[in-house]
């Protein structure tokens, strides 16, 4: 009998191990595919020059810069708004119904398809607010998209902070804000940063929200203000994969673009993880 139990145990174990490793495998295959196909296109000119000759030659520099601007812009909007909303929900809101309502709405926002965000951005930011196709319109739209992730992770990291810390601070006569700012937030910071990382990852790869709000099909110069249009990596990838005169010949450029996009996300992730580790050590809780 004991034997049977052990055999079942090891079969289940191997099945579970297989599936969890297959996740890693899939990621590796995708990465390897893009790296192998993309590397030949990468050169100094590719990342420092504007596209030329119907985007068949030259580089993708304006798209790289555009994507960086959009990441930055959307974070400037989404991070403060999302973190403050999360703080409000966890630390301040006392009305249970309001809290639940906000929470459900946040989840709903997370479930809205990104193309709908794009349409909303076009109607509100581009037309009604008169920003036109611009970095600011695109950033706000992407920011909205990132908002639920930022809010949710802020909430979760705050809720994970042991209540005795809050009590200890309040018991010393600290105000709620002092408690939140000086005690709770530093403890929650490492996990909140994870939320930021995730949302940056999501924002940098989105195509639909920027389609009608900022992305330029072909714009070989850099923006001079936040009311300018820019090229962006995901949209550029889409364009050269679908609408060129010679799609086959443009393939290497497409893979090169994808590689650069993934590399940017990777750099952001690594930096944010280093930050997270640094703050995690600094505010380590036993």
């Amino acid at each position: 009998m004991g034997n049977k139990k052990r055999i079942t145990q090891s079969i289940v174990f191997w099945i579970i191990r297989f599936f969890s490793l297959s996740v890693v495998l899939i990621l590796f295959v995708i990465m390897a595919f893009i790296i192998i196909k993309g590397i030949p296109a990468i050169s100094w000119d590719f990342i420092t020059k504007a596209p030329e000759e119907g985007m068949m030659k030259g580089g993708i520099m304006p798209a790289i810069v555009g994507t960086l601007y959009l990441i930055l812009g959307s974070m400037i909007f989404a991070f403060p708004v999302g973190v403050l909303a999360g703080i409000y929900n966890v630390e301040y809101a006392t009305n249970k119904y309001l809290k639940n309502f906000i929470r459900i709405m946040t989840s709903n926002l997370a479930g809205v398809p990104s193309i709908v965000f794009g349409l909303f951005g076009m109607v509100v930011f581009v037309n009604k607010m008169g920003f036109g196709d611009s970095i600011i319109a695109g950033s706000l739209t992407l920011g909205l998209l990132a908002l639920p992730v930022v809010i949710r992770t802020t909430e979760e990291s705050l809720m994970a902070v042991d209540n005795t810390f809050r009590q200890a601070s309040l018991a010393l006569g600290a105000s709620k804000w002092q408690t939140t700012w000086k005690v709770v937030l530093p403890i929650a910071l490492p996990n909140t940063l994870t939320g930021l990382i995730l949302s940056i990852g999501r924002v940098s790869g989105e195509t639909a929200p920027i389609l009608f709000t900022v992305a330029a099909y072909f714009l070989p110069k850099l923006p001079s203000s936040m009311y300018d249009q820019v090229m962006a990596l995901p949209y550029h990838l889409y364009v050269i994969s679908t609408s060129g005169t010679n799609i086959e010949e443009a393939r290497p450029i497409a893979y090169g673009t994808a590689l650069v996009l993934i590399f940017i996300v990777l750099i952001v992730n690594v930096t944010a993880n280093l930050l997270r580790r640094y703050f995690g050590k600094k505010y380590k809780v036993n």
């Binding site: 009590q167 601070s169 018991a171 005690v183 380590k284 036993n286």
Partner: protein, 252 residues
């Protein structure tokens, strides 16, 4: 200065429908240690948390009757909670130093009250750490993270953190229940010194501890204050059978 520091008159506490404390009347004198005893859920922690208004944080908590600290009505609208909490410090069951340096943990109470004078802060931090009998152990590592201290040291750090604002009353909610016997003994010893300058209210599940350290003791049972008096009398000659049964270990 009147000799009564803490006073409860017909004090009732409700959590929604639960009547957690029933008509409690109790006076605590200055410079004494009072132990609050009773089985779990008897209301002793609730009683403790009346005096720094920590019950405010609990939804649906309602209080009637009167509770005074140094003749100030706690639940008066004019009494500011943060002022009250400066006067009434608290030490919790689990050592919970903030994830900051040893120094900053103690300085916290001063900084939140808008004090920024470095010399003043340094002097008071040192004084508080000496009060808490921790100074000699940490004076060379004030910048180290408080998390690197042992459990007993962390708890003494929490005591120093509470003392730095110079409260007149210290509430202790089972301060040694998460500590090893040697660390507990140190804290008990420390409390003995502290009562020269502070009035201490301590909730404890450890009956021997109550007998060892307290001057007066209260026995709570299902929200009622069954007996309150000199510790010696409670332990040698309890007036109530339930008190007797509890302290002799027949239930708890």
């Amino acid at each position: 200065m009147s000799s009564t520091v803490i006073e409860a008159k017909n004090l009732n506490v409700f959590y929604k429908d639960v009547h957690a404390l029933k008509d409690v009347n109790l006076n605590v004198s200055r410079y004494t240690i009072s132990a609050l005893m009773g089985p779990s859920g008897c209301g002793k922690s609730t009683f403790l948390r009346v005096f720094n208004r920590m019950n405010d944080l609990i939804e649906g908590c309602k209080i009637t009757g009167s509770a005074l600290v140094e003749d100030i009505e706690i639940y008066n609208k004019e009494t500011k909670v943060d002022e009250l909490r400066k006067k009434v410090g608290m030490v919790f069951q689990k050592p919970n130093p903030f994830p900051m340096s040893v120094f900053e943990n103690v300085a916290y109470g001063l900084r939140i009250n808008g004090i920024s004078d470095k010399n003043f802060i340094a002097a008071h931090v040192e004084k508080a750490l000496k009060y808490a009998a921790l100074w000699d152990e940490v004076k060379d590592g004030l910048k180290k993270s408080a998390m690197s201290l042992s459990g007993g040291q962390q708890q003494r750090l929490c005591i120093a953190r509470a003392l730095v604002v110079e409260p007149s009353v210290i509430l202790m909610d089972e301060p040694t229940s998460a500590l090893d016997p040697i660390s507990s003994a140190k804290i008990e010893e420390l409390m003995y010194d502290l009562k020269k300058e502070f009035t201490i209210l301590i909730v404890t599940h450890n009956i021997q501890q109550a007998a060892r350290i307290s001057d007066t003791a209260a026995f709570f049972y299902i929200g009622e204050l069954i007996e309150f008096g000199k510790t010696k009398e409670i332990f040698t000659n309890p007036k109530n059978d339930r008190t007797q049964n509890y302290i002799t270990g027949r239930f708890g």
